[in-house]
Symmetry: C2
Subunit: 257 residues, 2 copies
C-alpha cells in the first residue's frame, strides 16, 4: 500500500464525529475532507518519516491528517463567493454550492481550529507536538498561507514584479508544503539542520508546484482539471507574468534545483 | 493595576508585526484586537492564576492573549454579512465595514490559526502547553464555539426547546468561558479535580453571561450597548423564548448556583 492509500485509510477511519441536532453540520464538516484530492501535503510528511524510519509512520498519521484538515479549510474559504467564487472542487460541488455560504464559512473556521485538536491528540512526545503546532500555525496562518491569500486577492489584476509574485506564492502555497516536510523531519527526529534544509527545499518545491498549477490552468479544460479554472489576465499567475513558455522555463529551472 | 489593565498592556505590547507589501494587512490584523472590549475571557483565566499564585501571572499572559485572539476572530466572522451583518462592534465599525468582506474573512482565518501560534510561544512547560492547545481547540472549534454558532444561524426564527437553546449557547458562548477558567487552572497546576470543577462552573457562568446579554439587547439602545443589537422575534434568545421576566428569573437561578 502506498503512502497516499495509507493516509486515505486513516482519514476515512477518522472522520469527524459529533452529536448534534443540526441537520447537516456533521456531513458538511466531512464533505470536503472525503472528497479526495492528491493528499500531497500528508504524503510529503509521510515520505520524510518513511525515509527515516518506516516504523514511525503510524504515529505520524495524525500530524499528516492535521495538515490536510488545515489545507481543506483553506480550499473551502478560497472557493467562497467573496474570493474565487468557484462552483467545482476536487470534481465535486464546492461546499457553499453543496450547502450554503454560511455553512462554508463556519465549517472552514471549525476545520482550521480542529487541525490543532488533531495535532495534539497524536501519539507523539509533547516536545515533538509543540514543535509541530508551532510549525503549522506559523506557516498556515498570519505569517504564511493567509498572508499569501490576501496578497493574491488584493493584487488581482495588478501587475506584480517577479519577486512580489514569488513572495505571494511562497506564502500562499509553498510554506505549507515546506511545513509538511519539516514536520516529517521533526517527527523522525532528524535534527535541526535537516529540518531546515527540508523546509528550504519545500519552499522551492512549493513554487514549482504553483507554477505547474498555473500551467495546468492554462492548458487544461475544467473537466480535465476537475476544478473551476480561471485564467484571465487578472490572475497573479506565473503564466500571465512570464507567458506559457516563460513559466515552463521557470518550472524547469526550479525542478533542476 | 487590575488584571484587565495588565492584560491590556500585554496585548498592546504584543500586537501582530509582519513585513508585507500589502497596504493594510497588518493594520487589519490588529484593528479588532486593539478595539478594546471587556477582555472577559483573559481576565477569567488570569483570575484563576492570580488566586492560586500571583507570581504565575506573567507566564499566563500569552495564554490569555491566545484566547482573546480566538474570541476576536469569532467576532469578526460573526459580524460578516452572511451572518449577523453588523456595522458596529466594540463601539467601532466592524472589520468588513472598515475594510472589506474579503479582508474580514481572511483576517478572521489568520487570527484563528494565530491563537495557537501565540499559545505555543508562551513561557510554560510543554506538557502544560499541550493541555492548553487541547482545551482551546476543543472548546473553540468543531466541538464548541463553531457548533453553537452554526446552530444559532441555522435555527434563526425557529422555536427551540429550552434544552436545545441551552445546548446552543453552551457551545456558542459557555464553552470558551469554561475553557478560560480551565486553562487558568492548568497553568496554576491546580490538579484535575479543580480543573473539572472550574470548567463546569464556567459552563454555568457562560449561560448566565448569555442570558444577561440577551436582556441587555432587549432593554438597551444600540448607542448604550456599543454594538449593533438585533432583537427581533427571529433570534434564538432566552428573552424570546422565556420573555423578559422569565429570562431574568433564569439568570437569577443560574447566578445563585
Amino acid at each position: 500500500m502506498d503512502l497516499a492509500e495509507v493516509f486515505e485509510k486513516h482519514l476515512q477511519k477518522n472522520l469527524i464525529d459529533i452529536q448534534t441536532y443540526h441537520p447537516y453540520y456533521k456531513e458538511a464538516l466531512n464533505f470536503m475532507l472525503q472528497a479526495g484530492g492528491k493528499r500531497f501535503r500528508p504524503v510529503l510528511l509521510l515520505s520524510v518519516v518513511k525515509a527515516a524510519n518506516p516504523l514511525l509512520i503510524p504515529s505520524a498519521l495524525d500530524a499528516a491528517l492535521a495538515i490536510e484538515i488545515l489545507h481543506t479549510y483553506s480550499l473551502i474559504h478560497d472557493d467562497l463567493p467573496v474570493m474565487d467564487d468557484a462552483d467545482l472542487r476536487r470534481g465535486k460541488p464546492t461546499l457553499h454550492k453543496k450547502f450554503d455560504e454560511l455553512t462554508a464559512v463556519l465549517v472552514g473556521d471549525a476545520l482550521n481550529t480542529h487541525a490543532f485538536y488533531i495535532l495534539v491528540k497524536a501519539a507523539l512526545h509533547n516536545d515533538v507536538k509543540i514543535k509541530l503546532v508551532q510549525i503549522l500555525s506559523f506557516n498556515g496562518g498570519v505569517h504564511g498561507m493567509v498572508h499569501g491569500q490576501i496578497l493574491d486577492c488584493h493584487f488581482e489584476g495588478e501587475k506584480l514584479t517577479l519577486e512580489e509574485l514569488k513572495t505571494l506564492h511562497r506564502n500562499k502555497t509553498a510554506k505549507l508544503i515546506a511545513a509538511s516536510l519539516e514536520m516529517g523531519a521533526v517527527i523522525a527526529n532528524l535534527g535541526e539542520e535537516i529540518e531546515k534544509n527540508l523546509y528550504d527545499f519545500g519552499l522551492q518545491l512549493g513554487l514549482l508546484f504553483q507554477i505547474q498549477d498555473d500551467i495546468i490552468d492554462e492548458i487544461m479544460s475544467e473537466a480535465e482539471a476537475g476544478k473551476t479554472t480561471k485564467n484571465d489576465a487578472l490572475k497573479n499567475s506565473f503564466v500571465n507574468l512570464l507567458g506559457l513558455e516563460g513559466a515552463i522555463k521557470e518550472a524547469d529551472a526550479l525542478a533542476k534545483k
